[in-house]
């Protein structure tokens, strides 16, 4: 039987597209972890919250998730900014584990809040026009995945441009590179950290909006996305934005291949094995600087 190249290509392509969304998710965490030095153990939960918000907006007001993405991003940015400024910033001088546990507690509250509000059953957002496939050459691509990836990459690009070319973005990068120096030149570190967290939350929410279209919604998916984001950030390299995106693509493809050729439920085993290996032998990840 001839090897099914087209089938493989389709799977890889599908993985790359989903991977773009994963990459944006990880990018948000990279900004938060790398800049504000917050171990955001609630990252996936913020994503899940956004997924449900998108689903609710769609179910009750008929708002297309691709339209809801902008107001949701803005809302989550504010949420993240306030959360950091009001609560998380207080933990900047405390031992590392205290901050970890704080975010863990927030994650638990969000996950169970969702569980209480929406129940444990899975739900999905189905948009008819997304069910069609797009033909690109010999490949058959899911329209939903294509649009989601496009949206994710746009958001990533916007983030990249912000950090590269705006004064605030540069200031945030300065904080990440050299905190003492940043303070000395008079940067308002507290505000900049909160901004970074807000941006990370906004990225997570955009990813969530897209995932609402691509995947099932369950309250328990929060923790899974948190771990996924950490796997990607660590494998791709902490502090590297390109690393987060490449890592996302890698994991997306790996999961797609594992799902296609092996048992779908075992696909995350690969991610965890990869995380373990990277943590032990190359904690810098593929593209990161010193951890």
């Amino acid at each position: 039987m001839p090897f099914d190249f087209i089938g493989l290509a389709n799977v890889v392509c599908s993985g790359l597209l989903t991977g773009a969304v994963y990459g944006l998710l990880a990018l948000g965490l990279s900004v938060i972890f790398g800049v504000a030095r917050v171990v955001n153990f609630a990252h996936g939960e913020i994503t899940a919250l956004a997924m449900y918000a998108a689903a609710i907006l769609f179910a009750s007001l008929g708002v297309d998730p691709f339209v809801a993405v902008a107001p949701l991003a803005a809302g989550f940015f504010i949420f993240g900014y306030l959360l950091h400024g009001a609560v998380i910033h207080r933990f900047v001088d405390r031992p590392e584990h205290a901050q970890f546990i704080l975010l863990l507690a927030i994650a638990i509250v969000i996950t169970n809040g969702l569980l209480i509000a929406f129940g444990p059953d899975a739900r999905a957002v189905s948009l008819d026009y997304l069910l069609e496939s797009v033909e690109v050459g010999p490949l058959l691509i899911d329209r939903g995945k294509l649009y989601a990836a496009a949206a994710a990459l746009s958001a990533a690009a916007a983030l990249f441009l912000f950090f590269r070319f705006t004064a605030t973005g540069t200031a945030i990068r300065a904080c990440a590179d050299n905190l003492q120096g940043a303070r000395i030149v008079g940067l308002d570190v507290k505000h900049l950290y909160a901004l970074a967290f807000g941006l990370g939350a906004a990225s997570a929410s955009v990813a969530g909006c897209m995932l609402a279209v691509l995947a099932e919604l369950t309250p328990g998916s929060g923790p899974a996305y948190t771990l996924l984001a950490f796997v990607i950030v660590i494998v791709g390299g902490l502090g590297s934005m390109t690393g987060a995106l490449i890592g996302g693509a890698l994991i997306g493809v790996a999961e797609a291949l594992a799902g296609f050729y092996a048992a779908p439920s075992a696909k995350s085993m690969f991610s965890f094995a990869l995380l373990i290996v990277v943590l032990l032998f190359r904690p810098r990840g593929l593209l990161g600087g010193k951890p």
């Binding site: 507690a105 994650a107 638990i108 169970n112 771990l227 075992a266 943590l279």
Partner: protein, 323 residues
Amino acid sequence: MSGRAALALAGLGALLLLLPAFAGNYLLSVATLFLYFAFAGQAWNIMMGFAGQLSLGHALYLGAGAYAAAGLYFHFGIGPWAGLWLAAALCALLGAALGALAFRYGVAGVYFTLLTIACAEFARIGLDHFSWLGGSGGLFLKIAERGEIDLANLRGPPAMFYYVILLLAAAALALSARLLQSRAGYYWQAIREDEDAARALGIDTFRWKILAVTLSAALTGVAGVFSAFYYGNLFPEQIFGIHRSVEIILGPIIGGIGTLFGPIVGAALLTALAEGASEIVAALGWEAPGVKQMIYGIVLLAVIVFLPHGVWPALARRLRPGK
């Protein structure tokens, strides 16, 4: 220990010993759960509170211990009292391996915590596909006959389980107390406070950290064995899940990491709060899955923000006469 404190402890001990005489099955099950969390919390506390290594993947040892003993019983008829030793040894090995690899390669802080989570998750998914031990469908141990006490195989009424876990919890408390006053206790606390300074004083921090992890893992494995036989069934999702790991750490964190009584006070508070809240919620008709966990989350949040050292140190200060 002051006279007042010793008296209080003795009183509590007497109360716990006599509980099954006047408590109904529900109260007994709550007390069993409290003691279980106290025991598992003490085990975790050795690694975190004493040696300062934050593990959020302790469910790995719960599950490994549980499946080891349950598997031996299910497939070979080996009773839990024998299986317990094998389970503890297996968990000790797992902990030592994890610790050795991690510390050898300088995996510390949040990276170490993530490593522990990854290992637990890996085990969870792995066992989901391991049909010899039941896979995701679960492993079921024979249900006990009502009233019949088979201590050798840990089949019997709730009171039997209660006394077993009471014994375990008391033993863990005694062990922790002994350790705190020993060379190990001093060395671990030094490592927790400042590893560089500890090294400069001649402490082989690598060896001692591994010892902490190994001991903690072995004890947690025993908790897993108890859990397997108490509930009579095992599912990878249930016993390896991250919510289990979180459950274990709640008691010590709320009560006070690194202290002797912290995990116990924390476990008591948590159990009381959770059951009390469940009652209120049921009475009000608000019942829904997730309420209990939500309460855990809110309490954890409140404690970590307002009482970062836990409830016990603040309480102990109040109880101390004078000063």
